[in-house]
Each structure stands twice: as structure tokens, then as C-alpha cells.
């Protein structure tokens, strides 16, 4: 019964404040839950309690008109809530965060957080699945093409975006925007795509202007390209 009351309270709290805040509140009093309880036994035959109807988080139900896709369900997302997880960066620079970093700073970041897997010379390590980052230009028509950031990736924004969201493997998403600009400058500098002068600096503006060697190496899907049709 206690459990049920608690979940009811949580549901009410969520309905009122949204799940993020509900979670913060509950973490003060008790640790976050790690498993679900078995359904409670109810009634004289010890039936198991059914799922409870899900509660809408909408602050106000408003006019309900299913034909017009008005359900009184969900709530507006604020700019702040969006900003918290809106981390993508696009080729034209949209989404790149403020900040900057130099090649020299990037060399430091790289040696501390990247080199252990990707190698001191960015050569990668097949044994642990860490890809080679530079080299391979001109090999895409070879029997064994070498696909790297340098030879294959069409946009510098992708390098920033991916490192920012998912690297390093042992602490994903832990690098600051400045550190990611810096390490991007280092990788692109080592790839001879931008200058490897220690002071070479990348920021939102300059990163979006980087022209990658294989930028024009992609075509849209032409399939079906093979086989007879009946």
C-alpha cells in the first residue's frame, strides 16, 4: 500500500512539475528507484493490481478534440529545457556552441584524453576498435580504401558534434566546448586540412568554414540500381 501511495504521489508530482523536477525532489528523500515492485495484491482473491492509467503531464487539459489532435497531453518545452539537450551541430555552423580552442591546446587535450585509444600519431588501434583519424587521402578508389576524418568525413561540424556528444569512450560527453574546438583544431591540423600552427584557432565561425577534402564525395541514393524488374 505504501508503494502504491508513493507512486501516486510521484505521479501527481510529475503531473505538476514534470519528470525532471520530480526526480530531483525524490532524490533528496530517497535514492532513485532501480527496479519495479511486483504488482500489489488486491481484493479477496489476491488479484494483482493492474497498471494504472498513465497521467498526462499537461498543466491544463484545455479543449479536447481528438479529430484535431488536441488531447490535453504533453506540455510546452521551454527554451531552457531544450537547450539542456540540444547539442547537435550542423555543417553550416548552426548549433555550434560559443567557445574556442587552439591547435596547441588541442594537442594537450588529445594526449590526455584521446591518444590512449587513437594513438600518439592518430593512427588508431584496431585491437580496441579505435579508428585511425588521419591519412588515407586518395585511397577511396583503392582495393582497400582508408576511410578517416581526413580522407572521408565531408564536414568538420560532424567531427565537433561527434567528439562533443560521444567521446572519449570512457567518459562520453565530458569535454567542454573549448576542449572540443581545440582537439578539432589539432586533428584537422594534423590532417593538413587547416594550419598546424600552434595558434591556429577554431570557433563556431571558423569551424563552419573549414572545407573538408571529401566534401564533394557523396551522392544521393540512386537505387534501385541493380537487377531486372518484372
Amino acid at each position: 500500500m505504501f508503494t502504491r501511495k508513493l507512486s501516486l504521489l510521484c505521479t501527481l508530482a510529475m503531473a505538476a512539475t514534470g519528470p525532471g523536477i520530480a526526480q530531483e525532489n525524490s532524490s533528496e528523500s530517497e535514492p532513485p528507484r532501480t527496479v519495479a515492485e511486483l504488482p500489489e495484491r488486491i481484493g479477496e482473491y489476491d488479484e494483482r493490481a493492474p497498471m494504472q492509467p498513465p497521467a498526462s503531464s499537461a498543466q491544463s487539459v484545455g479543449d479536447i478534440n481528438p479529430d484535431n489532435l488536441e488531447f490535453g497531453v504533453g506540455q510546452p518545452a521551454t527554451d531552457e529545457q531544450i537547450a539542456r539537450i540540444d547539442i547537435d551541430a550542423m555543417p553550416d555552423g548552426r548549433g555550434l556552441p560559443p567557445g574556442q580552442g587552439t591547435y596547441a591546446e588541442g594537442e594537450e587535450v588529445y594526449s590526455q584524453t584521446c591518444a590512449a585509444c587513437h594513438g600518439a600519431d592518430l593512427e588508431g588501434n584496431k585491437d580496441i576498435g579505435a579508428p585511425k583519424l588521419i591519412g588515407g587521402r586518395g585511397t577511396l578508389t583503392d582495393a582497400k580504401p582508408v576511410k578517416t576524418v581526413e580522407s572521408y568525413w565531408p564536414y568538420a561540424s560532424t567531427l565537433f558534434d561527434y567528439v562533443h556528444r560521444a567521446m572519449p569512450m570512457n567518459a562520453p560527453g565530458s569535454l567542454s566546448a573549448d576542449e572540443v574546438y581545440a582537439v578539432s583544431a589539432y586533428v584537422l591540423g594534423r590532417a593538413d586540412i587547416i594550419s598546424d600552427d600552434p595558434d591556429t584557432t577554431l570557433d563556431a565561425d571558423t569551424l563552419a568554414k573549414v572545407k573538408m577534402p571529401n566534401a564533394d564525395g557523396f551522392v544521393s541514393d540512386p537505387r534501385p540500381d541493380v537487377g531486372a524488374t518484372k
Binding site: M14, F71, V73, G74, I85, D88, G217, D221, R223
Partner: protein
């Protein structure tokens, strides 16, 4: 004591822990004198000799030897518990109802499991469905293939939410409860990784159909149409692409054309009648019927509408198809028609000449399968196979054809046609156009060689 501490993760797997917890719960209810309508004999032997003390004493395989009340023997296969095998099950009562805690398990004599392709990293890896032993078209949820780029997150649905924003009239966020309140839809469709078969371009490499084709699976998926959510937030003029983003450590992202999103995309929370499995994106995943598996973003947390594709790592450096001229195809999203014979298939051995029903699966990301033909002579002659109905669009379709093996060498092949008229190509036809470095989208006819001794091997024929 918190329940999860009772059976430590280091000693017990989650299945065993769950089962033990359930048993303790049942026992607790009994000891507490839960009202019984009838005092029935069936309570006797409820635990088959397994007491709470046995379990807490540890050191025994909970799903295994415990039930035999004897010495430890081999562990039961995953998803099964080892029960005492009765010498004559007609002469004694079977085990009692709910002794699995209320969530069933498979027979201890069934052992199919997913198999992991030996990638260097356990975090970024894939596992494959054992198609050879499959029946019908539905893949058991526990055998659905997996592809993870940064492991499998454990997400509490009470804290998970989906945010829709970007080029929309009103950005919105939805809790899992919200999403389950909205009008739902269920459909049965396949998901295939576009890397399915990537080892097979140059030469026959893997031995079994699980290895060559196991990155495709079919489930019934339930959720909300993505178009419902998009119409709720209202698309701005010029909206053309949507970024879908997962809440795993890869924060995996793919761009999806808006037309697809408005057509048949589903934001799914259920698979085969129950909540998604954790490894399939619990609590929420994107489902894009017919599209390559990588786009079906799991652990979905964000959808951003834009005028252009986002050019994420997955859709530029990976999941692009390098052609012989050095150009790469991008956004090759639809999975083209494909079929494979699952029985007989690689690494089997036919015991003797005689009757066999050849069976397999056919599917197309562009719609329904309309025909499957089977050859037993390496493509020289073809016979049309029967299709099990109902044939669903963008869904595995089971085909069958009788065959009498005379004991002579044979090469078995299947070839499918979909409702667009597309005919599944041969491997040489594919390689002629695409070369050997495109990695993805190998949908060629598969050949299985039957030797005179009955051995079945993967060949290029």
C-alpha cells in the same frame, strides 16, 4: 534491506535474481498466512525442495541445480530454468503454477541464443538472430538482433521524456505517461541492419545463416504515429528533415526525411505485446518501417525538425556506401528486397536423402513480397514457393517449398520479387555496379551447397 541488494549482481544474473525474488515473495505471502480459499495439495512441493535458506546460502545456480535438490549440474540455457526431468510425466504431478514467479520461461531443452560478431569493443558491437531455428515470421523479443554503439543504458521510464523542437510552431515535451495516453497503433514489420551480410561481399565468410543474415528480425511494434506528435507541435514551412537522438552514451543521431516521418514512422514503446526490451530501446524507440536499422533510434529522447539533414557521424562516415569511383552513396535508407533459405542452411548436416521442406524468409523495405522462387540447382531452374499469409508490407514473409533430396550435390537458392517489381539480384550483379567496398546493403541471392554427405555450406555460386 533494499530488494536489489538481497541477491548481489556479482553472484546472480538478473533472471536468477528476479526469480529468486519472486519465490521469496511467494513464500513470504504464504508464511504471512495469506488467505487461501481452499487448502489445496498443490501447495505441497511449491518450491520443489528449494528453501529461502538454500537460496540465501548462495553458491548454487539458482535456475539450475536448486530444483533437482541434488548436486549442481550444467546451467540451463539463458531464459530457461533447469527442472527435474520426470521419468514418466503421466505418473506424477508436474511442477506447480507460477513457480517461475509469474513471468514464464522457455523450455530447458531449447538453447537458441543471439551470437555476437567478434568486434574489438564490447560497447560497440552487434548480436545476431538465430534465423535457422526460427518459425513463422515473429522474432522472439529475446532473440531480436542488437546493434549498440555505446552499450545498453538502463533508463527509468518515470524520468524519461521526449522533446520535439526546432522548426515547429510549439516545442513540446512528453513523458512516457503522456505518450501512452495518445492514440496508438500496432504493426508487424522487420528491422534489418544495413550491415547485414557485410562479411559476404568478397567471399563466403561466415558459416551459418545467423552469421550471414542474422541482422534482421521482425516484431509487432506498438506506439504513437510520429505524424501525430508532429501535427501536435505543428511543422513550420520548409521543414524537411528531423534529427532523432537517443539517450545512450553514443547519444546516437540520424536525420530522417520529413516525408518518412509523416508517412509510417512510429514512436514505439512496446514490442511483441510488452514493453520494449532494454536492448531494443526501452522505454522508447523510433521505428521507420523498411528503413535501415541504424535510423530506428533507440532510447529516443529528442526530435529536432530542420530544413536540412544534420550530417551526423552515422550518416556520413558510417552507413554510406563507397562506390568503385570513390564516390559514396548517402541516405541509402530503404532496405531492398531480400530473401534467404533458413532451412536447410549453413553448418547443418542433412542426415540422409529424403523429404525436406525448404523454408526461409523474404522481405522488402519497399512494400510487400509478391513472390519467392527457389532453386535447388544453383539457379538453373526455379520453382515458386508458397507464402504463409497474411503477407504484410515491410515485414518478414515465410516461404516454404517441398523438396526431396536424392543424395546428389545441390545448391539451394531463393529469389524474391516485391510489389514494386524489384527482383532480388545475384551477388555478381551487385558487385558489377557497387564493387567490393560499399560494405552496406548486400541483398544478393544466398547460396547453400549440399554435399553428398549432407553437409550444408555457405558458397558463392
Amino acid at each position: 534491506m533494499p530488494r536489489n541488494k538481497r541477491f548481489s549482481a556479482s553472484r546472480y544474473g538478473p533472471t536468477e535474481r528476479h526469480m529468486a525474488e519472486s519465490l521469496v515473495e511467494i513464500e513470504r505471502q504464504m508464511l504471512a498466512g495469506a488467505p487461501d480459499k481452499e487448502d489445496c495439495e498443490c501447495k505441497e512441493g511449491m518450491f520443489n525442495g528449494l528453501t529461502r535458506r538454500n537460496m540465501l546460502a548462495g553458491g548454487i545456480a539458482l535456475g539450475g541445480a536448486a530444483f533437482t535438490a541434488g548436486q549442481a549440474t550444467a546451467d540451463a540455457p539463458p531464459g530457461a530454468f533447469e527442472h527435474r526431468v520426470q521419468p514418466d510425466p503421466t505418473k506424477e504431478q508436474g511442477r506447480t503454477i507460477l513457480d517461475d514467479g509469474g513471468y514464464g520461461s522457455r523450455s530447458q531443452f531449447e538453447n537458441e541464443v543471439r551470437w555476437r560478431y567478434p568486434t574489438a569493443s564490447l560497447d560497440s558491437s552487434w548480436s545476431m538472430t538465430p534465423l535457422a531455428s526460427g518459425h513463422g515470421v515473429i522474432t522472439p523479443s529475446g532473440l531480436h538482433f542488437e546493434r549498440h554503439h555505446a552499450g545498453i543504458p538502463a533508463i527509468d521510464p518515470k524520468t524519461h521524456e521526449l522533446i520535439l523542437h526546432g522548426m515547429v510552431d510549439e516545442p513540446m515535451r512528453f513523458t512516457m505517461d503522456d505518450i501512452k495516453r495518445l492514440p496508438a497503433v500496432s504493426r508487424i514489420c522487420f528491422i534489418e541492419c544495413s550491415g547485414n551480410g557485410l562479411t559476404e561481399w568478397d567471399e563466403p565468410t561466415l558459416k551459418t545463416v545467423q552469421g550471414t543474415h542474422g541482422l534482421t528480425s521482425t516484431s509487432e511494434w506498438t506506439g504513437v504515429r510520429l505524424s501525430t506528435l508532429l501535427e501536435m507541435v505543428g511543422l513550420s514551412d520548409g521543414a524537411a528533415w528531423i534529427l532523432a537522438e537517443g539517450a545512450d552514451a553514443a547519444v546516437l543521431t540520424r536525420s530522417v526525411p520529413i516525408d518518412k516521418a509523416m508517412d509510417d514512422a512510429i514512436v514505439a514503446y512496446a514490442q511483441n505485446g510488452e514493453a520494449l526490451r532494454a536492448e531494443q530501446g526501452y522505454p522508447l524507440r523510433l521505428l521507420l518501417p523498411g528503413y535501415e536499422g541504424n535510423t530506428h533510434i533507440k532510447w529516443l529522447r529528442r526530435l529536432e525538425v530542420s530544413d536540412k539533414p544534420f550530417m551526423t557521424r552515422e550518416e556520413t562516415s558510417k552507413y554510406t556506401d563507397l562506390m568503385p569511383d570513390g564516390m559514396a552513396r548517402q541516405f541509402s535508407l530503404e532496405m531492398e528486397a531480400k530473401s534467404v533459405i533458413t532451412f536447410p542452411s549453413g553448418a547443418m548436416k542433412l542426415p540422409r536423402p529424403g523429404f525436406y521442406e525448404i523454408t526461409g524468409l523474404a522481405w522488402s523495405g519497399r512494400g510487400k513480397v509478391t513472390k519467392v522462387e527457389v532453386s535447388t540447382d544453383g539457379g538453373a531452374t526455379w520453382r515458386e514457393a508458397a507464402l504463409d499469409g497474411p503477407v504484410l508490407p515491410k515485414c518478414h514473409t515465410r516461404f516454404r517449398i517441398p523438396w526431396t533430396w536424392t543424395g546428389e550435390e545441390a545448391v539451394l537458392q531463393s529469389r524474391t520479387v516485391d510489389e514494386t517489381g524489384y527482383v532480388q539480384p545475384t551477388l555478381p550483379e551487385l558487385v558489377d555496379v557497387r564493387g567490393l567496398n560499399s560494405v552496406y546493403h548486400l541483398n544478393a541471392i544466398q547460396s547453400w551447397h549440399i554435399a553428398q554427405d549432407g553437409e550444408v555450406t555457405n558458397v558463392h555460386a
